[in-house]
């Protein structure tokens, strides 16, 4: 099983118990009074049968509080997700903390810092780096939005899942647009792995067809689900943070209810990508502190519900370069989420707000994850670590500790040694060519790419099955008219025939 980090102390809280309760009541009130738009006939019927107030005309669904609470109670507080290789199985929930990557549409040039689409090799390289990093416990969708060279839009993520399954044994996620999860779920299954179903909310208070369908697929294939909410406070959610928590929670509930109605005890985690709105340019304000305030409050409420939480908004920042700003904008939100009880942190590889990602960044982020992980593990207090006899033995100056057996044993237990950080003194640093963390990360990337092997690779028959499903998908979308003739011509060149 993929070993995460254990948080060994009570989580950070910023709300009182009464405030948590008020937010819960507010959420139930919105669900009952305002309701949610659900563009999915099947789901409307399920909700109706369960006692919701459903208007089939306007598609508005209003939820009785009892039903919501009952469904929340049915969610398991921790669960396992199976990977192709049992070493990558996930244990989600309780005080175990896992990490995964945040994708970018594009890669970025490390000299000009301008974005551009990755090549297929670069796409695979990023997957391989993520597969090799031990603290990346599973892989998000993408990690890039396809690659250059002419894959039709609708096939990008399906081809992407195939690349991930071929180059990594880690669990991944099946996004739900245009039915592509119908294919990707089967691909994962062919490789002997579970995959997260991925229904996403749309703010405010709207559930679109494909996203709701993902719940039906989760039930059908008995898969774990990760539900994302990505409201922007001030734009699609109230500008006050407490209101944004109420709204995003209300948006997540319909999916929770549906999942538990379809399959009681269904495995589910809720992901938080709520960002403040940048009031100058309308973009989500990535990397800003409102991200964390929302996240910490969200974590506190969902811990009461016993549903594992995912912090998504700690990955992307508003910096375009790998620089100081990126460093603090990643560290603070990730740390605060980890301290406040997130089960999963979406940290690795992203640079600017969902747009750019890079494997070098993933390697750098590995040190942040390691540091936070070390912090979560806290301190051991025992006779040996208290070391009172040793202190007495060493006494005042000129006594010292460096040569002691106790030091040889304990420093390694206590200290986390980062892999890509500059830890030299000035003279050493000048002598070795003034290398920065980016230089060390490049060296580590070379090493990973020249040595890392996926373990195990797909068997011949698994590979054939994946190829067969890809073919089926290509034909399906071709027939649906979602791959144009022009697209088809250039696509054929890539897939060889």
């Amino acid at each position: 099983m993929a070993k995460g980090f254990m948080r060994r102390f009570p989580p950070l809280k910023i709300l009182t118990d009464e405030q948590v309760e008020a937010i819960h009541r507010g959420t139930l009130d919105v669900l009952q009074e305002t309701g949610v738009l659900v563009y999915n006939e099947k789901a409307l019927s399920v909700f109706k049968k369960a006692g919701c107030d459903v208007d089939f005309e306007t598609k508005r669904v209003k939820f009785p509080p009892g039903l919501v609470e009952e469904c929340l109670r049915k969610c398991p507080s921790s669960f396992r997700v199976k990977a192709r290789n049992p070493k990558d199985d996930l244990l989600i929930g309780q005080d175990n903390v896992l990490f995964f990557n945040f994708p970018g549409t594009d890669t970025v040039d490390l000299d000009t810092w301008e974005p551009r689409p990755p090549t297929k090799k670069e796409h695979i390289d990023l997957i391989r780096v993520l597969d090799a990093l031990p603290n990346v416990h599973f892989l998000n969708a993408y990690p890039y939005f396809g690659f250059s060279g002419g894959i039709p839009e609708v096939m990008k993520e399906i081809e992407g899942v195939a690349l991930r399954i071929r180059n990594s044994t880690k669990v991944t996620i099946a996004i739900a647009n245009n039915d592509i999860d119908m294919f990707t779920i089967r691909m994962a299954r062919a490789a002997g792995s579970e995959i997260f179903a991925n229904p996403n909310t749309s703010s405010p208070l709207t559930c679109y067809t494909d996203q709701v369908n993902a719940c039906f697929l989760a039930a059908e294939y008995d898969l774990p689900s990760m539900i994302w909410d990505g409201a922007t406070s001030g734009g699609t959610a109230p500008a006050s943070l407490a209101g944004a928590v109420v709204l995003s929670n209300a948006e997540l509930m319909p999916y929770i209810v549906l999942l538990q109605l379809l399959k009681p005890g269904a495995r589910v985690a809720v992901a938080n990508l709520v960002l403040p709105q940048n009031m100058t340019n309308g973009a989500p304000a990535f990397g800003e502190i409102g991200v964390s305030l929302h996240n910490v409050a969200f974590n506190q409420v969902w811990r009461e519900y016993g549903v594992p939480t995912v912090s998504s908004s700690c990955g992307p920042t508003s910096s375009k370069r790998i620089d100081f700003q990126l460093g603090y904008q990643k560290m603070m939100p990730t740390l605060l989420s980890a301290l406040s009880g997130s089960s999963i942190l979406q940290l690795y590889s992203s640079i600017y707000g969902e747009i750019t990602a890079h494997p070098i960044q993933a390697i750098l982020d590995d040190d942040i994850a390691g540091m936070i992980g070390r912090f979560l593990e806290g301190l051991e207090v025992s006779d040996e670590s208290l070391a009172i006899d040793l202190i007495n033995e060493v006494g005042p100056i000129p006594g010292h500790y460096l040569g002691k057996k106790h030091t040889r044993k304990w420093w390694k237990k206590e200290q986390f040694v980062p892999k890509a950080a500059d830890r030299l003194t000035y003279p050493e640093w000048v002598k070795t060519g003034k290398k920065s963390c980016i230089d060390y990360a490049k060296e580590r990337m070379e090493e990973i790419l020249s040595t890392h092997k996926v373990d195990p690779p797909l068997t011949r028959s698994q590979e054939e099955e994946i190829e067969r499903i890809l073919k089926e998908a290509r034909e399906y979308y071709r027939k649906k008219g979602m791959i144009t003739d022009v697209e088809w011509e250039s696509y054929k060149k890539i897939i060889g025939g």
């Binding site: 001030g234 009031m279 340019n281 309308g282």
Partner: protein, 214 residues
């Protein structure tokens, strides 16, 4: 008295007060104020807000709030313009929306707000807009400009669909088309035969002026 109403309208817009704007517009009609002068006063106010936003003194919620207040008064004044047969000096009529399959609204809303502030008459159709819906609106409003937004590479081709549909129905030459949104590039805009592209909302306004030659 008259000036008081105009001053009040200006203030209502700058204080984001929908109700007051609406009431004052009604009063302006009752008092038989020249609707073109009323419109002028409102345009000045919204432009001041737009300028302050451009300078960084005001923020998006202020800009959108002011546009909303203006929108609250607008139908009343327009009705009056129609009734009196006065000739309205609008920069032009814009139909705007985010294309089908795409629900990203923020950038599109910004563009619409700034166009309104500049003095365009804007019909914001919203998000997830099908080609037919665009076409219908263009006919209904006799639009000069079509502004389309798309944020996903998957939905960008929808813009092409709309343009082709316009061609099919013989409307293409009657209208200027501008496109934008995160998934659109200059190249793509050329490729699909749009008349203009810009990556920012203030740029979209300049572009709109350029397209209709004003």
């Amino acid at each position: 008295m008259n000036n008081e109403i105009l001053e009040g309208l200006r203030k209502a817009i700058k204080e984001y007060d929908n109700e007051k704007a609406e009431n004052l517009a009604k009063r302006a009609v009752e008092e038989k104020l020249d609707p073109l002068r009323v419109l002028d006063a409102m345009t000045v106010a919204i432009r001041e807000v737009g300028d302050a936003f451009g300078r960084g003194d005001l923020w998006l919620p202020d800009l959108v709030g002011a546009a909303d207040a203006m929108q609250a008064a607008m139908p009343i004044i327009e009705e009056e313009i129609k009734r009196t047969g006065a000739k309205r000096e609008s920069l032009g009529t814009v139909v705007a929306g985010t294309v089908f399959g795409d629900i990203h609204s923020i950038g599109k809303t910004m563009v619409c707000t700034l166009l309104t502030a500049e003095g365009f008459k804007v019909h914001d159709l919203g998000v997830n807009i099908k080609a037919e819906e665009f076409l219908q609106a263009i006919r209904n409003y006799n639009a000069d400009i079509l502004a389309m937004s798309a944020l996903m590479t998957m939905t960008a081709p929808e813009q092409k669909k709309v343009i082709e549909q316009l061609k099919k129905e013989g409307l293409r030459d009657k209208i200027k088309i501008m496109v934008g949104g995160g998934a659109i590039t200059e190249e793509f805009a050329k490729e699909i035969g749009a008349d203009g592209y810009d990556p920012t909302a203030p740029g979209a306004v300049k572009l709109a002026r350029k397209l209709i030659g004003r």
